[in-house]
Symmetry: C2
Subunit: 209 residues, 2 copies
Amino acid sequence: MKLYENTQAPNARRVRMFLAEKGIELESIQVDIIKGENLQADFLSKNPRGLLPVLELEDGTCIDETMAICRYFEDIQPENPLFGHDAKSKALIESKNRQIEFDGLLPLADILRNSAPNFANRAIAGRENVQAISELIPRGKSSFLEFLNRLEQLLTQNEYIAGEYFSVADITAFCVIDFASWVKIEIPATHCNTITWYNKVVTRASALA
Amino acid sequence: MKLYENTQAPNARRVRMFLAEKGIELESIQVDIIKGENLQADFLSKNPRGLLPVLELEDGTCIDETMAICRYFEDIQPENPLFGHDAKSKALIESKNRQIEFDGLLPLADILRNSAPNFANRAIAGRENVQAISELIPRGKSSFLEFLNRLEQLLTQNEYIAGEYFSVADITAFCVIDFASWVKIEIPATHCNTITWYNKVVTRASALA
């Protein structure tokens, strides 16, 4: 198996962190997003959407989408489950993970893609000739700050994002918080529960993946 | 168990169609999105994000996010699997389902929320005081048309969205195609494979759910 990814990209980091938690090692092939290698024919033959990461199985099947790749490894190596252990915990982890993607990751991507010179004319990941919309920058910031407030509220009740166990939702949230530093947003100093949670997750070996 | 939902909303329809495929009946509670009932305290106590659908379990636990709710039922009633039957089919279905959400559903929501008078000042679902950004309308249309092209390409290879079996990805795609009619976009007449697929799915009893 091979993982097409990029050491900088937050979604690729989510997969690497997941694999590290599972103790799985894979051949990694770097694809340079800034140079647009993800939009060239070689990579598009693996994923016509031009998005990283992509997992190529031994039989040549290519699986894109971070969560699909992580689920594949959860299925083939179920020890140390990161997607939950019963119907209720699985549903809650899926719910929280999606909340972080929609409310945290997408607004950050909007801020970055519609402001960074590196992505001029590439305001949607995986596509060419999409002009930036500058109004998405303040909208993204407002959405992300609301997400941070909700995260703080959630972590007043839970030790980890989806309850008492570390899960894939913590991986997503942790990578999203680090990604926020790209657009110069940090956890507000008043968000004590989020800071405590972050300081706990950052000590895991997988945080270096 | 109770399902908080809305007969008009595409995500609620995805859950109803999933339940119909599984032969599960649930108590349904309607929440009027146009009137903003989803932004009132009663509903926000079930889901602080203000989004439908929400499943309330017997113990009072509330699960939001369409896919989390569907997965819950897949877990408690695994017969007739709609999320796949092995690691590879599960990963491919998850991948395709997410592609349809990100590339199909989100652009449509952008078009609708940034143009419809019913959602003035509510340009992001579940939130108040978010102004429309009119440039998102042509961007959303361009993204959605690209999605339709990719869907047609996919259906030249596969009978169903993720392979030879009907899955939750077909439910998502079918509800997205019907949702597109809200913003007056139809399957192009040249997309023969998509039309054949649609005409097959629309005859399933669950399409009426």
